[in-house]
């Protein structure tokens, strides 16, 4: 067979190496990677942070030009040699042949221009034509990606769109010039699980209609299983393993892939053995919180009742805006409830003054979502952990130091790193520091607000394991707030599902996940990506039917 008979692959990357200068040295983000992608196919690049997957995506569009990155090897996309292409060819490639769907939909659109105008601008660069025709095309594609009332909404600014709509708008921008390849860099990472499912379904449908190829960059194996034909697992800039999605996820041959897959929390893994019934630590009855005054009050938490016992973990799961963080902060009285009762160890603490509350403060601690933002960057981690000790009145420097070293050791960090600063730690290590700080006060209850959502899956698994270990050892009551249903399932004894400030369903893990009573819980569970591509297809079909039904309903009524 000669070369002219086999069509050249749409994407042909050979021996790609990308290195950046950092701190005087050179860092190889991508190290000798090769891959091909045929027209109409979908390949997922899967890897943890720092694996170089986004750098590969950028290289396909020549985005490393002018950034100081050194790129070697060849990258051909749609017949264009990206490294050798002149400025005009490169501009034609970007958007015309290969279009990128970016990660953060809020910051990826220009806040100053109407969404429709931004799409029209991109369209005119590639297709020419009048402004009017470009605007019409923008409305077309916005309508195509499911923006309701697209003609009117195309005149909105990005901030007037919800996160899901912004992501749709970015996909519409990519579609505008009918590219042959979509490069999607973590397209659903910032989205709620139900919105994520909608966006993935949309991508799937569009590809089926237009035959566009997809290169999907994701850290989420489930997302890859939902959307790709093939998976390429990356680590430290190199390929670990590559193969068809079902085969690779079903029977990985590399140890790293196996570790990665086993770290992913799944909805079908065995639930944790329930802990013994401990004493009731915290009890909320009809808890309520409003924000704002006068006619503009928003009720963030509405009539929430729950109990947390010593030694158990209560999972609180919900999408963004469901009030779960507000609830968590109220439970430790970082926020004052505006209604309802909050009892801790028999004392009503919901209405205590700050001074009366002080004896209890120590026992109610919190671990925050963002370990970067919740540690003072100008103080050493040891000092941060020592804070609660000093607040508690410990004046003996030696005892403070010893205790901090002990805590560092306890959370799996080197005690000699007392003087190190937060930026010298990885994300997972910083979260360990956050946990150590919470432990310093010898609490009885810790509220963890999205403690692992910023972490890679393998790190996630380590941090949740640490929490479980500490809980067993110290008999802590834990409230674990997260948007990720599978993570909550893995760590919790009981689960509360929140929506619109209310708890719609509460029960043991088996009850809520096994036999969900509330339709919203069922909807959430149906949206969780499955690691089995065949199952994913079945569930996608079911979601499509559900959407059809919902669309028909008004017509029947």
């Amino acid at each position: 067979m000669t070369a002219s008979e086999t069509p050249a692959p749409l994407v042909d990357v050979r021996d790609l190496t990308v290195s950046f200068d950092r701190d005087g040295g050179s860092v190889r983000a991508v190290n000798g990677l090769s891959l091909t992608l045929a027209e109409g196919r979908a390949l997922a690049l899967v890897g943890e942070s720092g694996s170089g997957k986004s750098t590969v995506a950028g290289a396909l569009l020549g985005l490393h030009r002018g950034t100081g990155a050194r790129v070697t090897g060849t990258v051909r996309v749609g017949g264009v040699d990206v490294a050798a292409a002149g400025p005009a060819d490169l501009r034609r490639l970007r958007g015309g042949i290969a279009a990128m769907v970016f990660q953060d939909p809020l910051s990826s659109l220009d806040p100053y221009y109407a969404v429709g105008d931004q799409i029209a601008e991109v369209y005119r660069i590639h297709a020419g034509g009048t402004r009017k025709a470009a605007r019409a095309r923008a409305v077309d594609v916005l309508d195509r990606v499911g923006i309701p009332d697209a003609a009117r909404r195309s005149r909105s600014r990005p901030h007037e769109f919800s996160g899901g709509m912004r992501q749709r708008a970015l996909i519409a921008m990519a579609l505008a010039c009918a590219p042959r390849l979509l490069v999607a860099d973590e397209p659903t990472t910032a989205l709620d699980v139900t919105v994520q499912a909608q966006i993935l379904d949309l991508l799937h449908e569009l590809r089926r209609e237009t035959g566009t190829a997809l290169l999907l960059v994701t850290h989420d194996v489930g997302v890859a299983a939902e959307s790709a034909d093939e998976v390429l697992v990356m680590r430290d800039g190199r390929e670990v393993e590559r193969g068809p999605v079902a085969g690779l996820l079903g029977a990985p041959s590399e140890p790293y892939t196996r570790t990665l897959l086993s770290a992913v929390p799944r909805l079908d893994e065995p639930v944790r053995t329930p802990s013994e019934e401990g004493e009731v630590l915290l009890e909320a009855v009809g808890l309520r919180r409003e924000f704002g005054r006068g006619g503009r009050t928003v009720t963030a938490v509405d009539d929430v009742s729950l109990t947390v016992r010593a030694g158990e973990t209560l999972g609180v799961v919900g999408e963004s805006g469901s009030g779960k963080t507000t609830l968590g902060r109220m439970l430790v009285r970082l926020l004052d409830p505006t209604g309802g009762r909050l009892r801790y160890g028999g004392t009503e603490i919901g209405t205590l003054s700050e001074r009366e509350l002080r004896p209890h403060r120590r026992e109610l601690q919190m671990v925050f979502q963002d370990p970067v933002a919740s540690l003072n960057p100008r103080r050493s981690v040891g000092e941060s952990i020592a804070d609660p000790l000093r607040t508690a009145g410990e004046r003996d420097e030696k005892r403070v130091r010893d205790r901090v070293r002990e805590l560092l050791d306890r959370v799996g960090l080197d005690p000699d790193r007392y003087e190190a600063y937060p930026h010298e730690f990885s994300g997972g290590q910083r979260q360990r520091v956050g946990i150590a700080r919470a432990l310093a006060a010898e609490p009885r209850l810790i509220v963890c607000d999205e403690p692992v959502s910023a972490l890679d899956v393998t790190t996630q698994a380590q941090v949740t394991a640490l929490l479980a270990e500490l809980q067993a050892e110290l008999g802590l009551g834990l409230v674990f707030i997260a948007h990720d249903l599978a993570v909550v399932r893995r760590v919790s004894d009981r689960v509360a599902v929140m929506r619109g400030g209310r708890i719609v369903e509460q029960g043991t893990v088996e009850e809520v996940y096994g036999t969900p009573r509330d339709p919203y819980t069922r909807q959430l569970l149906a949206a969780v990506p499955s690691l089995d591509p065949a199952l994913a297809a079945v569930r996608r079909e079911r979601r499509r039917e559900q959407r059809e039904e919902r669309r028909q309903e008004p017509a029947l009524a």
């Binding site: 970007r94 958007g95 279009a99 970016f102 100053y112 601008e121 660069i125």
Partner: protein, 329 residues
């Protein structure tokens, strides 16, 4: 929006009231005797006492301030010793020195100052934003380095040095322009513009250094944002990326700072006014302070305050128009 403007105007009135109280207070803490200065050097103590009585300086500070307020809102009568002058509201009083009505005096001087301030603003916006944009575009290149040096030199050169150099070069040496003398806009627009040209350039250049730096840094900041990457990744040319998308983000801070600067030029551009002989408010203010001429000082400060406050309200409106995410409340 109407609500917003009304609210801000009410706030402006409060600011002006507070300003007048402050000036009155400071005035009475300052040393010197206005009556002696108003009377002249050869006055005997008796005559001075008479003048003091006439000017109402024997009353308490509080009573004097109330009279001032009365003048502003209702008008009042002033005795000048030989006759009684009625001064309509808004009356800012009579000058201790010349017995002129301050309201009239200030209004007379306002056009010259406004000409200078607005013209200078046009210069600093054109030169400052242009330079800033250019150095953001050519970052890392020789152009940027030259521009950086020039803007630094601009910030470091006092107005009177720059103005003097310009006068010497353009009027004395090259003789391209006659030495400027102020011609009111109403009299002869062309002569007005020619005569204001050097003052505009002097003041505008001095200010534009700051705007160049501001524009440069905020443009570079915007260029580093994610949405810029989006347009680059869609084949939008670099020029379009900078002028359409990055500059748009750089405009709001320029508007905000311009408003404050424009306001403070009303009475604050004394060096430029003196250098070019422009009969403006800045010169009036300095003379007033030197002669402890309270009504004049208060009058100019009121105009200056009004200008600052109005410019800021306008800036907020423009800000909201430039960035739709801003909600005026």
């Amino acid at each position: 929006m109407t609500r917003f403007v009304l609210k801000r105007l009410a706030g402006a009135a409060l600011v002006l009231l507070a300003l007048s109280v402050l000036v009155y207070g400071l005035f009475y803490l300052a040393p010197g005797d206005p009556a002696r200065l108003a009377c002249g050097e050869r006055c005997n103590p008796q005559q001075i006492a008479q003048v003091r009585e006439q000017l109402g300086l024997n009353e308490s500070v509080f009573a004097q301030y109330l009279h001032f307020l009365q003048g502003v809102f209702a008008g009042r009568d002033h005795s000048t010793g030989t006759s009684v002058v009625h001064c309509d509201a808004p009356c800012l009083g009579l000058s201790y020195q010349s017995d002129q009505q301050v309201t009239r005096l200030v209004l007379e001087r306002l056009p010259a100052t406004a000409s200078l301030a607005l013209g200078a603003m046009v210069v600093w916006l054109l030169v400052g934003v242009g330079t800033g944009l250019l150095s953001a575009l050519r970052r890392g290149g020789a152009t940027e380095r030259v521009l950086t040096v020039l803007t630094l030199a601009g910030t470091g050169t006092p107005v009177f040095i720059l103005g003097l150099l310009l006068l010497m070069a353009v009027c004395a040496h090259l003789q391209w322009l006659p030495f400027p003398s102020y011609v009111p806009l109403g009299e002869d627009p062309e002569q007005w513009a020619w005569n204001m040209l050097l003052p505009w350039i002097t003041l505008g250049f001095f200010e534009s250094a700051k705007y160049a730096r501001l524009t440069r840094s905020s443009t570079l900041e915007t260029l580093a944002e994610d949405h810029i990457r989006t347009f680059r990744a869609y084949g939008v040319g670099e020029r379009s990326v900078v002028t359409r998308h990055a500059l748009r983000g750089a405009v709001p801070p320029v508007i905000a700072i311009s408003a404050v600067d424009l306001g403070s030029m009303f009475g604050g551009a004394v060096l430029t006014e003196s250098l070019f002989g422009i009969p403006g408010l800045g010169k009036t203010l300095i003379d007033g302070v030197r002669q402890i001429d309270l009504p004049v000082v208060v009058g100019v400060v009121m105009v200056m305050g009004t200008a600052v406050v109005l410019a800021n309200v306008l800036a907020d409106l423009l800000y909201a128009a430039a960035d739709r995410r801003v909600v005026l409340t």
